[in-house]
């Protein structure tokens, strides 16, 4: 038990922080803990969480994916265009969009693993190229409204529970299985911890790297389609904020940006923290500027806790605490 606590210290801290935030929010704005408010918080967090799923895999593997904004946006726009508000085309459009996201991820991964292009540059280039292509495709004008099915998936409810929360839960389950219960997860953590040791242990490092970017492409395009349902239609720039929030959610969730550690369960807490903060600040009468300041401060504080400089201090405090307990 103690070993479990020590190993997952950062993830637990993220949840602790989240609960604390909820408490503070409830104090300042008593209505916040209402069912409807919690529901909308979870719905908003789900979009961040889904995008950040792929980002988590990429970052654990030692990379970073800056292409999520426009992979997300592309899937949203193209889906809306192809479906033209109808449900039936989704049957082939949705798989196509996912395949497209996976393809972008595949190309990103190939550039990084095979050609040695730094992840930042590779995914940045993919992002601007997609941005341009989508602008060309749409001519800058907004797309038709989203199909009803997509709307149902993103804002609908089943027995009072938002459908998207269920989707998120299912994805979190899959991610957890992949990270904790599959050979792929072991390979991924090894790759992110030390590419050389992984290579010397026979881990298929190139394949594992490519897979992380493919997963990121998949989740970004899924999030894009769902987000279309939330906002009613696809619009240009709808993915822009998700670069920052996906990386921030992963960092707040306790993963090292250098790779090799972290877990999607931490990222889930990170996504919730970011979303609750968004809800908290209006309650405190703070502007969106203040929100950004708080975001930055939260990232700095959480990554400091995880840093080497604090690792010794943190674990010695932890040990002392658990001895006293």
């Amino acid at each position: 038990m103690r070993a479990f606590l020590a190993r997952n210290r950062l993830i637990l801290l993220a949840y602790l922080g989240m609960l604390l935030l909820l408490l503070i929010t409830a104090l300042f704005s008593p209505g916040f803990l209402s069912a409807s408010n919690l529901r909308s918080t979870v719905v908003l967090a789900a979009f961040v969480g889904i995008v950040a799923l792929g980002q988590t895999f990429v970052i654990i593997g030692g990379g970073i994916d800056l292409s999520v904004p426009w992979v997300l946006n592309s899937a949203a726009v193209v889906m809306a265009l192809l479906c033209a508000g109808q449900n039936m085309p989704l049957l082939w459009v949705a798989p196509l969009m996912l395949a497209g996201g996976a393809l972008v991820g595949f190309i990103n991964g190939l550039g990084v693993a095979q050609f040695g292009v730094p992840p930042i540059i590779m995914t940045l280039a993919a992002n601007v190229i997609l941005q341009g292509l989508i602008l060309v495709l749409t001519g800058g004008s907004p797309s038709p409204t989203a199909p009803d099915l997509i709307k149902f998936l993103s804002v609908g409810r089943v027995g009072g529970i938002p459908v998207i929360a269920l989707i998120w839960l299912a994805l979190a389950l899959v991610a957890t299985v992949l990270l904790s219960k599959a050979a792929f997860g072991r390979h991924l953590y090894a790759l992110g911890s030390s590419p050389t040791v992984a290579e010397f242990s026979g881990v298929p490092t190139a394949r594992t790297t490519v897979l992380t970017y493919v997963i990121s492409g998949l989740t970004a395009s899924l999030a894009g389609m769902l987000l279309t349902g939330y906002s009613g239609q696809a619009y240009l720039g709808m993915g822009d904020s998700y670069l920052f929030t996906s990386v921030a959610a992963v960092a707040i969730g306790g993963a090292s940006i250098l790779g090799g550690s972290g877990h999607y369960l931490g990222t889930v807490a990170g996504a919730l923290v970011l979303t609750i903060l968004t809800g908290l600040l209006p309650a405190l009468n703070l502007s969106s500027g203040a929100l950004l300041v708080v975001y930055g401060a939260v990232i700095l504080v959480t990554v400091s806790i995880g840093s080497e400089a604090f690792a010794g201090l943190g674990s010695s405090l932890w040990n002392r605490k658990s001895r006293e307990a």
């Binding site: 070993a3 190993r7 299985v177 219960k181 599959a182 050979a183 072991r186 390979h187 953590y189 090894a190 911890s193 030390s194 050389t196 040791v197 992984a198 290579e199 010397f200 242990s201 026979g202 881990v203 298929p204 090799g260 550690s261």
Partner: protein, 500 residues
């Protein structure tokens, strides 16, 4: 009055005593050689002199004054400059920028004065007859030998009173090595003290006025170079190390060839290596450090490129990557040199490390069977007697010996029966060393074929059935039976006359 005097100098790393009341003295104007086997304490000693390490006990007097530099800068300020094997050059700066780094002559605009730097560089090169070297080339484009020469120039640019050369000739081709020997004499003639470390006996003989011999962290003797013979030096370097337990060597080699290596070459570090490794055999690979042992092990494991052919159990094998080497029973496994950089995930558990190479074996329908994994991990922990509180303990928190056992376990789990062991006992306590040797003999008896490199010759002598001695990337000699002795290995590795 001697320039440097060390009195009863001691240094410990954790529980390991690296220097044990070492005595040393050397005077200005001489070339003083420091001799000893790998691990005798030479490099610890010169790291203390050059400010990279601080001693625990004893005292050093420089010019009669206490000398205890806080860092390399402080040592340089007192006139001591060292040329280490591990280079400190900046790859993207030019030769001359490196030589004068942080002490550039400046123009009145505060910029480095290029023409003055060039003038001083050429002056330095001319004064010491440096081999031709373009001062305006980036260091990243130089060969290892050229970098070594730049490192020497960088040390001389500080106008030291004491110059320490640690194996400075080992990276140099013959002509440049000769130049360096002339240079050391020239410097001594100018009144400098040159502390000269080399494994090449002929070189030591050529330049040293006096020599001090270290063994097991102690000073064994100091001689006038002219007054002592090779045989005496070698025997004092080796000494008689008692009290270590080696398992009884019962040859279990069969006639079956497990690994056949022919015309195996890699760059210019490995030239046309050929040998057979038999089933049930422990084949030692010896020689001085840096003569191709590392390249041989890496290339056999697919971690670096090589040409030539490899046969495993009679079948040709194409090993292009470690992944291709680790193919189960007919594969090759490596216990690598760099335990922390190549062998272990320090921040992961013993369990995760042990099963990393074979994790797929525990999956059923894509899911890991934790119980099956835990059972095998438990077996391996027991079999190797890995001292860990639980298999969940982080590998980085284990002792060196137990870390090494985890790497052994990881490779044994792959079931590969050809094992490459690169210096598996380095930094391992004596007790665990004994266990590792016993394990090697046990595995050999079970039909494993083991290629074993150690930087400690004594280990090769007591554990290996045969020993390949490497020199300049080639197999210089293959020793068997009675001929396996430290003298035999050292002779084949050092003394050029026996090269043929």
């Amino acid at each position: 009055m001697d320039l440097i005097i060390a009195n009863s100098l001691s240094k410990r790393f954790g529980g390991i005593v690296a220097l044990d009341r070492v005595e040393f003295s050397a005077r200005a104007g001489e070339v003083h050689a420091l001799l000893g086997e790998n691990g005798a304490g030479k490099s610890t000693f010169i790291q203390i002199l050059s400010g990279a390490l601080r001693h625990d006990d004893g005292a050093i007097l420089l010019d009669g004054q206490d000398y205890r530099p806080a860092d390399p800068d402080a040592a340089r300020a007192r006139g001591i400059a060292a040329v280490f094997q591990e280079l400190s050059l900046i790859p993207d700066l030019t030769v001359e920028q490196n030589i004068w780094f942080r002490q550039e002559p400046l123009t009145s605009f505060g910029t480095a004065n290029r023409s003055e730097i060039r003038r001083r560089t050429l002056e330095l090169f001319a004064k010491y007859h440096f081999p031709t070297l373009r001062p305006d080339l980036e260091v990243s484009r130089l060969s290892l030998a050229e970098r070594q020469i730049v490192e020497i120039a960088k040390a001389l640019a500080k106008q030291p009173r004491v110059l320490i050369l640690d194996e400075a000739t080992s990276a140099l081709p013959a002509r440049e090595a000769e130049w360096l020997l002339r240079l050391t004499r020239q410097l001594a003639a100018q009144g400098l003290l040159v502390i000269f470390i080399s494994h090449r006996m002929a070189e030591v003989r050529a330049v040293a006025d006096r020599l001090t011999i270290f063994r097991n962290g102690r000073t064994i003797a100091m001689h006038e170079s002219s007054a002592v013979g090779d045989a005496e030096i070698v025997s004092q370097m080796i000494g008689r190390n008692l009290g270590r337990l080696y398992p009884e060597r019962i040859s279990t080699a069969t006639g079956r060839v497990a690994l056949k290596v022919s015309s195996f070459s890699s760059g210019n570090r490995l030239k046309n290596v050929e040998f057979d490794l038999l089933e049930g055999e422990v084949l030692g690979v010896g020689g001085l450090q840096g003569h191709g042992q590392r390249e041989l092990f890496q290339a056999l494991f697919g971690a670096s490129k090589a040409t030539g052919s490899i046969e495993l159990w009679g079948k040709p094998a194409a090993i292009s990557s470690p992944r291709a080497a680790l193919t189960g029973r007919d594969g090759i496994a490596l216990v690598p040199e760099d335990r922390r950089g190549q062998g272990l995930l320090l921040a992961k558990s013993v369990r995760e490390n042990l099963t990393l190479a074979v994790i797929r074996r525990f999956t059923e329908n894509g899911l890991l069977n934790g119980r099956k994994e835990a059972a095998l991990v438990g077996e391996m922990v027991d079999f190797l007697r890995i001292k860990t509180r639980t298999p969940e303990q982080l590998a980085g928190t284990l002792s060196g010996g137990n870390q090494q056992k985890v790497i052994f376990g990881k490779m044994l789990l792959t079931e590969a029966r050809v094992l490459l062991l690169y210096d598996p006992t380095r930094g391992v306590d004596v007790g665990t060393k004994g266990e590792i040797f016993q394990l090697m003999r046990d595995l050999a008896a079970k039909g494993y074929a083991i290629l074993f490199h150690s930087s400690d010759m004594e280990e090769l002598v007591h554990v290996a059935d045969r020993v390949l001695v490497m020199r300049n990337g080639r197999v210089a000699a293959t020793l068997a039976g009675e001929r396996i002795s430290e003298e035999g290995i050292l002779s084949a590795a050092i003394l050029e006359s026996e090269a043929a």
